[in-house]
């Protein structure tokens, strides 16, 4: 390899490393966390920040969850998107102080499906927004939340 070319490549490599934020911990280089969306106080704000405002209702998003939860600390929710080409699913608990609870990006090799346990402060709609082919689709399901028991 010619010396100038080697030098050029070396410089380009160094620049790339600087651009990637060499001083950040290794893990942070690979992970992004949408601070603004997770900090939004309403579901519409969170969705707008994610670029998913104006999603059209779809019956092809299946939300399986109990009609009534005995406690809001652990509410199991199972989501399947049957919309072909779904690349992303966002889960919002509309009445939570910060509605956006999770966002999953599905790359080649993963099915648009997730089951998780969420915290719900009160009875609320669980809203799911699925992104497929650059378009956004949405479905919602109400989950009633109660406080059961004697505190023991």
């Amino acid at each position: 390899m010619k010396p100038q070319r080697r030098g050029l490549l070396k410089a380009a490599g160094a620049l790339a490393v600087l651009a990637a934020g060499l001083l950040k911990p290794m893990a942070a280089l690979a992970a992004t966390w949408h601070k603004e969306a997770f900090g939004a106080k309403t579901a519409p704000d969170a969705l707008r920040t994610l670029g998913a405002a104006g999603a059209e209702p779809s019956g092809a998003i299946v939300i399986e969850a109990p009609q009534i939860a005995e406690n809001g600390a652990v509410v199991p929710i199972e989501i399947t998107s049957n919309i072909p080409g779904t690349t992303s699913i966002a889960v919002l608990i509309e009445k939570n102080p910060f509605p956006l609870a999770a966002k999953f990006d599905f790359l080649d090799g993963a099915l648009p499906y997730v089951k998780l346990n969420a915290k719900m402060g009160e009875t609320s709609d669980v809203r799911v927004v699925a992104t497929a082919g650059g378009r956004n689709y949405t479905a919602a399901k109400e989950i009633k939340v109660t406080i059961g028991g004697c505190g023991g």
Binding site: N71, V75, N117, G148
Partner: protein, 263 residues
Amino acid sequence: MRAIACSALLALAVTPALAQKQSPFAEYQRMANENSPIELFEILGEEAWKKRQGTKNVSLEQCDLGQGPGVLKGAYAGLPRYFADADRVMDLETRLLHCMMTLQGRSREEATKRVFGNADNPSEMALLSAYIARASNGMPMRPGSGHPKERATIELGQKLYFHRAGPWDFSCASCHGEEDKRIRMSELPVLYKPEHARPMLSTWPSYRVSTSVLVTLQWRMNDCYRQMRMPEPVYGSEATVALISFMTKAAEGATYRGPAIKR
């Protein structure tokens, strides 16, 4: 044709579905139990079971929980029961305490210093209970071995269940003595009736999501006494074992479904 019909009827007669009270939260409880983090506690429980401790520096692995030294399968489903070496009826935690003291050479004070745990730090007893209980999951609950002291313990438990005492003149039956009573949204089970006892007793120990604490039956007895404004029962005492025996007997035959997750 007739022979087949008869045997079919016989089969139906011999295997009746055990009546259980359905809760309005049945769907929640099913989904929550399918998505439960309790296995994390079982992993820690296994570590605790195998950890060398005490003056004798041995693990609990040779502890006899009723099915033979070190046998875990079905042990929880067979408790409480009479143990000859202690000459008394014991539930799981009482038996574990016995093994901690006799096998490991630990003092009662040290072994019971922190039996109930908290959200960030489950107790050793709770972790052990979850691990041991898992080995009975799916098995029918058949407490006892037929020893006469077991009957006496159950009868004592029944007396205690209905015995009113303390500043509020409460007994267990004050809350758990009548059908269709509720505290907030949760139905109060009538724990001496099999159809109520079965879904209840088959799900302890449990992960209590409202407090994020792993809880056991000894904990529950202790907390019930606290709520009744009664003096605190001694851990593993005759009284607590009697109550647990009485209620477990009522649940006899139920399929053990723990360790579970609860509100």
